[in-house]
């Protein structure tokens, strides 16, 4: 009798869930800095998610469910992110979006794994759209974590492949912030360059404290004294902008290969100082061959007076929508299973969420900071009159990396 009752109750719940799925709104918790040093970047990315969510809702990508982004300010602090996660759990939100800072990503991935293990039936799915520490999809990989961005090793692979073809590159200088990400960039650069172009000399390597240096002129004269023609740097924020400004002031003519040249604030700060010498490696550039996604970028610009560059938001929503449609459910357990190995057409081409480590595989772009010319560089960034010119699009396989991940899947 009791079992029957329970079964009926469960059936009723299921039926209700299925019924609700049609007009249901799926909340996605956005946990990133909205106050403090990194707030401009966080705000831009929040707007990017919102814009794409609106787009998906209008065009009904998910075949029923609507997306809603719920922001939580984590102040770029891992501990505050865990507080935010508690709120997310309280509010019954089952999807988490986060990107800024691998420290936060590692903390969140770990906490979500523990939560899912301790609270079956309340699983949370974590979409990481920008934290690039390779560990997250290797030694510390987790079933509930999906990375939409290319990790730092993949970007370095792409960057060095491109660099190796340039015969003018002879003396490379590695300039990074002294913390895990900067050190990883320096290590990968040395390893990959030695493999691809053993003749290239690493003429110098610097690790400077994160966000503490005000005057980069001494570093620049050191770089210059080493006879550098190419600088590889994982610096971001003011550490990157100030470096490029100082380089221009001292008349350093080297090229800068960066990871974060196109993030909010850097274009404004570097302005003309970076012309023709700053490049970035990333997964998309609005000034691509056919200007795919330019309509999105323009619409975004019109609505938020800001630039759309976090294209992973497009990939992320597209993947979720497809998973909702395929599984006819918004249950993270089913969605997670559907996301494994999923392929979607995003703005940069086909993106595959690799099953073995939950690392998105996608084409990578290398672009150069140049004046607008109306031909191949139509769109500028931060109203500077400068934009990114696509130098090369590298096919997915070029940057693909083996993984050491041993994924533990729930039974």
């Amino acid at each position: 009798m009791r079992t029957i009752l329970r079964a009926t109750a469960a059936g009723a719940v299921l039926a209700f869930a299925a019924f609700g799925a049609n007009a249901q709104t799926v909340k996605l918790a956005f946990i990133d800095p909205l106050s403090g040093l990194m707030a401009p970047v966080g705000q831009n990315q929040l707007n990017s998610w919102r814009y794409i969510a609106d787009l998906a809702n209008q065009k009904n990508w998910a075949g029923g469910p609507k997306f809603e982004i719920v922001p939580f300010d984590n102040k770029l602090s891992p501990q505050e992110s865990l507080n935010a996660l508690k709120q997310v759990i309280d509010q019954g939100i089952r999807y988490v979006l986060q990107g800024n800072g691998s420290s936060v990503a590692l903390a969140l991935a770990d906490a979500i794994a523990k939560h899912n293990e301790r609270n079956p039936g309340k699983e949370i799915l974590y979409l990481n759209y920008a934290a690039v520490d390779p560990d997250l999809t290797n030694s510390k990989c987790d079933y509930w974590h999906f990375r939409l961005d290319a990790n730092s090793d993949m970007k370095m692979e792409a960057l060095t492949t491109f660099l190796a073809k340039d015969k003018n590159v002879k003396n490379v200088y590695l300039f990074n912030q002294n913390y895990s990400f900067g050190q990883a960039v320096a290590k990968a650069a040395k390893e990959y360059l030695a493999r691809k172009r053993p003749d290239i000399k690493i003429v110098g390597e610097d690790l400077h404290p994160l966000a503490q240096v005000k005057d980069f002129a001494p570093y620049v004269s050191k770089i210059k004294a080493a006879g550098t023609d190419t600088v590889i740097t994982g610096n971001w924020g003011s550490d990157l902008a100030l470096l490029i400004k100082a380089a221009k002031d001292a008349g350093l003519t080297a090229n800068f290969y960066t990871y974060y040249g196109a993030t909010t604030g850097v274009p404004t700060a570097m302005g003309a100082a970076g012309e023709e010498r700053v490049k970035y490696v990333g997964y998309w550039n609005v000034n691509n061959e056919k200007f795919v996604g330019a309509d999105v970028a323009m619409g975004f610009n019109k609505k938020y007076k800001d630039d759309y560059y976090t294209m992973a938001t497009y990939t992320g929503i597209a993947m979720l929508a497809k998973a909702f449609k395929e599984t006819k459910s918004t249950d993270p357990v089913k969605v997670a299973a559907a996301l494994e190995g999923m392929k979607v057409q995003s703005l940069n081409g086909e993106v595959e969420m690799r099953k073995s480590d939950h690392q998105a595989q996608q084409p990578l772009y290398i672009a150069k900071w140049v004046k607008l010319n109306g031909k191949d560089v139509k769109y500028d960034q931060e109203n500077t009159g400068y934009g990114w010119k696509t130098e090369v699009v590298l096919d997915t396989y070029v940057a693909a990396q083996p993984t050491s991940c041993q994924m533990k899947r729930p039974k």
């Binding site: 909205l34 106050s35 707030a39 705000q43 707007n47 919102r50 939580f72 300010d73 102040k75 602090s77 891992p78 501990q79 505050e80 865990l82 507080n83 508690k86 709120q87 759990i89 309280d90 800072g101 691998s102 420290s103 590692l106 903390a107 770990d110 906490a111 523990k114 301790r118 520490d133 560990d135 002294n178 913390y179 895990s180 990400f181 050190q183 404290p209 994160l210 503490q212 609505k303 938020y304 007076k305 800001d306």
Partner: protein, 425 residues
Amino acid sequence: MAAGVLRYQPLNLARWIIWGGTAVLMAALPLVFTQGFAITVISQMGVAIIFTLSYNMLLGQSGMLSFGHAVYSGLGAYIAVHTLNLAAKGQFWMPVSLLPLVGGLAGAFFGVLFGYVTTKRAGTTFAMITLGIGELVGSCSLMFPDFFGGEGGITTNRVFGQPFLGITFGPAIQVYYLIALWCIASMALMYAWSHTPLGRMANAVRDNPERAEFVGYDTQKVRWLTLIISAFFAGIAGALTAINFEIVTAENVSAVRSGGVLLAAFIGGVGFFFGPIIGACVFVYFVVALSVHTKAWLLYLGLFFMLMVMFAPGGIASLIMMQVQLIARKRFGRIARHYLAAGASGLMVLAALILTVEMTYKISVDSATGTLMKLFGMEFDAAAGTAWAVAIGLWIVGGWLFNLACLRVARVWGEIQTEFVEGRA
């Protein structure tokens, strides 16, 4: 300030009631606040209470203004988390419930080390050395990834081994009770400390170092010992943070933490033992809960702090004690209605302030999605003239009324004080 008059000396019975009441309150809180987030908040308040009280051993009781107290709690947290990880691997036996002791000892160890250097001087010089050491340790935390775990910090899992009496420390509620136990114990110990000869000497060194030295005490040694004990309790707080979050990152030793504990202690009131307890709760509320509602939470916190410094340098605790004095002498009723008036007009000023800040914020930071906003349950356009007119009106009317009410309060207050003096004479 009439600190001498307001000396808090309850009967022993009252003391037992207060401590017992606190314990019961802490035990009952999770029954009222059952949500996961609320448990997190009260857990953090418990940790913050220990940390802020330990800070006040320096600032309030020994007159040492430190800008680097997070060094001790942070390093304590790191040592604790490494210990926990080793224990989880089975390298030695160490129950989670005793881990705060490890953190405390680690904190005390660094207290011995850094304290030897910092406590050589008092006053502003002490403040500056702690600032320097705080910056040094903060920078080191990113330079030595082996120990500090770099950007990602050190993660851990507090659930290991066989559950003892069904306690695994997996659920947040069990961690809360662990924190509550340690919190009560630390509070009692720190209160007891303030009545030991060393605690009394610390007060003497704060008030008149020359005289303390003449009496034959080595002021530097008193400061050093106080700092070591303070660092011990800071370390306990650090270890509890590690257990609570299961991660320790560089922010635990950062200058932001050090500044935060200073704010908390001062807002609560450094002149009374229970001041920092209030301060810790208010501060955690500001940081964790208020930031959910507004992006300008730091602005409100800064403003609140400034107002406290300017108008109530004794902190919330001193404000409470002033009322206790009135209630005890049955004069509170006379001033209460003026308080009510001041409170009501103060609310108007507060509303004006919130309206102004939030509307400016909306326009300058968040205007991309339009200037429509929601506040106090009403929806309106931040760019519209009417909203601003309301704000300005509130400022003028509220400000005028508030000023009036405050003058009244001050006058009545003065009258009552005069009566006391005359009554005594």
